[in-house]
């Protein structure tokens, strides 16, 4: 995890997938006149921001050799909870505080629950978070009876639509989250412990690290960031959708792993995750821009992911 100033060329060689990403950008610029416009590139970052933010939490979890399948359902339920509370008859600033608070708090609680099951009951993260995934999804449907929550206060949809100078707010949030996460992972004690626990949890425990606490913290982080994404998504679609975030878990894990993080823990970076997320986001965007048929798109996405990772491996030989 060396992290001196990352220059472009350093990033490319270290985060191997970077070269594939640059190639992808170049290709789409040539192939579609609509691709390399400021507007579209901002658009891609806006679209990617939702899953990319989740991918940050997932990176922490996977670095500890865990996995979090509940992210997509947390997106849905946090969006639902936030919007439900927003609809309640509260004065405006309070409604927002309570709404956003409810969504984020739920993410934290879900993460805490996951962490406790993983550490105190020693249940494998896959099962714990799979169970939470179906439980939260079911709950979102029970609460809403399967209908979207709508008729929200005027300003809510502005959150995702706002711009800070030219940057969409979700993009800005994504950048901040990545920067913080990079800092935490490479510079702080907690980050170091995350790598240690993922690398060899028994050795980490014997080195005096409270491994259980570290594990709970990463699941809380993942829950919190998923909830944050869920709220942003709800704002984007100006409603709480119980079916939001379906299958996000696979997309997000794919981004993390394409970005070079090992599912066996102890190895990986959030910069890799950022590139992985963007690589996949740009791919979808580019193929849509080029009007590639949706069935064919699936095939192309699979092939490109395989090629990108292969390029990375061959170069590292």
């Amino acid at each position: 995890m060396p992290a001196e100033r990352p220059t472009l060329s350093r990033v490319l060689s270290e985060y191997g997938i970077g070269a594939a990403f640059v190639l992808e950008l170049t290709l789409f610029s040539v192939l579609s006149p609509h691709f390399a416009t400021v507007d579209n590139l901002l658009n891609v970052t806006l679209q990617t921001s939702i899953t990319a933010i989740i991918a940050v939490g997932m990176t922490f979890v996977i670095l500890t050799a865990g996995i979090d399948l509940s992210v997509g359902s947390i997106v849905a339920l946090s969006g639902v909870l936030t919007t439900v509370v927003l609809r309640a008859d509260l004065p405006v600033p309070l409604a927002y505080a309570a709404g956003l608070g409810a969504g984020l708090l739920f993410g934290v609680l879900s993460g805490t629950a996951a962490g406790i099951f993983v550490t105190k009951f020693r249940i494998t993260p896959f099962i714990v978070t799979l169970a939470l995934m179906t439980i939260w999804r079911g709950t979102a449907f029970v609460i809403t009876e399967g209908r979207p929550v709508w008729e929200l206060p005027e300003g809510f949809s502005e959150i995702a639509r706002a711009r800070v100078s030219f940057l969409p707010l979700p993009t800005l949030i994504m950048i901040v989250v990545f920067a913080l996460a990079h800092f935490v992972l490479t510079r702080t004690k907690f980050g170091r412990y995350v790598y240690a626990v993922g690398g060899n949890s028994e050795a980490a425990r014997l080195a005096g690290i409270r491994t259980d606490r570290v594990l709970i913290q990463v699941y809380v982080l993942s829950g919190l960031l998923s909830a944050l994404s869920g709220i942003l998504l709800a704002s984007r679609v100006n409603s709480g959708q119980p079916n939001a975030g379906l299958m996000y878990e696979l997309d997000v894990i794919a981004a993390v792993v394409v970005g070079g993080t090992s599912l066996f823990g102890g190895r990986g970076t959030v910069i890799g995750t950022l590139i992985g997320s963007l690589l996949i986001g740009v791919l979808r965007n580019g193929l849509n821009l080029m009007n590639v048929e949706s069935y064919v798109q699936q095939v192309v996405v699979g092939v490109v992911i395989l090629l990108a990772v292969m390029m990375d491996r061959l170069r590292k030989r």
Binding site: N238, S239, Q241, A244, N285, N288, N291, S294
Partner: protein
């Protein structure tokens, strides 16, 4: 449930296609409200687009010896073996919304998706004065959607100056539809209209259009769920919606079954009206409601 059944009390098994879409929530609501009136017990399951799962659910109904089964098939042909199982056990089967082509079905209660798609196409053609570029926010993994798109394209084929420039997969859910629609708007700055294969798709497209502040793009949706109706009334880019009456499909289905139980003859196909509504139509019904 599970206890001894009183005289006249009937249990009906329902195998829905999904419960993740508002259309089916309405259909289900129709089923429930009518069943409550008739004092029927409903056992509602949902296959979530998984045919194998749906067949298993029908098998579970057969095991339970329900008095009738309602299916919204994941696939018209594929559901055949499940229906035959029910046939073998002598349990009457009704289909709602989507037909079954194999096995014996007492009655099919539905609106016609191809016709609905055609309505959407014709509305757009008129609104565009026979000329323009159109995109489809599709979800081509579901038969009913394939039918809608087929009807839509048929209607447009009569208008040579209208071209379909994009056909993207929004997976029928609002967040994914938003993403797909955003890309379409990026690629086609001169887009005139969008057809969303259901309301989540149409509303996702609306989110995109509003976020781009793209004037002049019109959207037609499908299902006329409350949020969509609201958007139409607010004079947004969403101009019209194909209405099926899922609640009516639900209530009609139960009524048909009631008729069947009471020994009356029921028709093999019970049509439920489809239509298309726009702001004017909505305002009219609203006024009628007020009167």
């Amino acid at each position: 449930s599970g206890g001894a059944k009183g005289e006249g009390e009937k249990t009906i098994g329902v195998a829905l296609l999904t419960r993740g879409h508002v259309f089916y929530r309405d259909l289900e609501a129709g089923l429930r409200s009518e069943a409550q009136k008739k004092k029927y017990d409903l056992v509602i399951t949902s296959a979530e687009f998984d045919l194998g799962k749906q067949i298993s659910q029908i098998e579970d109904f057969v095991t339970r010896k329900v008095d009738a089964i309602i299916v919204c098939p994941v696939d018209s042909r594929g559901i055949g073996p499940g229906i035959r199982k029910a046939n073998d056990a002598g349990i009457p089967v009704f289909t709602a919304d989507i037909t079954a082509t194999e096995g014996a079905v007492v009655s099919h209660i539905a609106s016609d998706n191809i016709a609905g798609g055609r309505l959407a196409g014709e509305y757009l053609a008129k609104a565009l004065h026979g000329k323009g570029k159109v995109a489809i926010i599709n979800h081509p993994a579901v038969t009913s959607v394939l039918d809608r798109v087929q009807g839509f394209k048929e209607a447009l084929s009569a208008h040579p100056h209208i071209s379909i420039v994009a056909d993207v997969n929004g997976q029928g859910v609002r967040d994914k539809a938003l993403q797909a629609a955003t890309d379409v708007l990026q690629a086609h700055t001169d887009l005139d209209a969008i057809f969303g294969i259901n309301d989540d798709s149409a509303l996702g497209a609306l989110d995109a259009v509003e976020q781009f502040r793209r004037e002049g793009v019109i959207i037609v949706g499908y299902d006329a769920t409350p949020p969509a109706a609201d958007a139409i009334l607010r004079a947004t880019a969403l101009k019209a919606d194909v209405v099926q009456y899922p609640t009516v499909i639900g209530t009609t289905t139960i009524q048909t079954i009631a008729d069947f139980f009471s020994g009356r003859e029921v028709p093999p196909i019970v049509p439920v009206q489809v239509g298309i509504i726009d702001k004017t139509a909505l305002e009219k019904t609203a006024n009628q409601g007020a009167n």
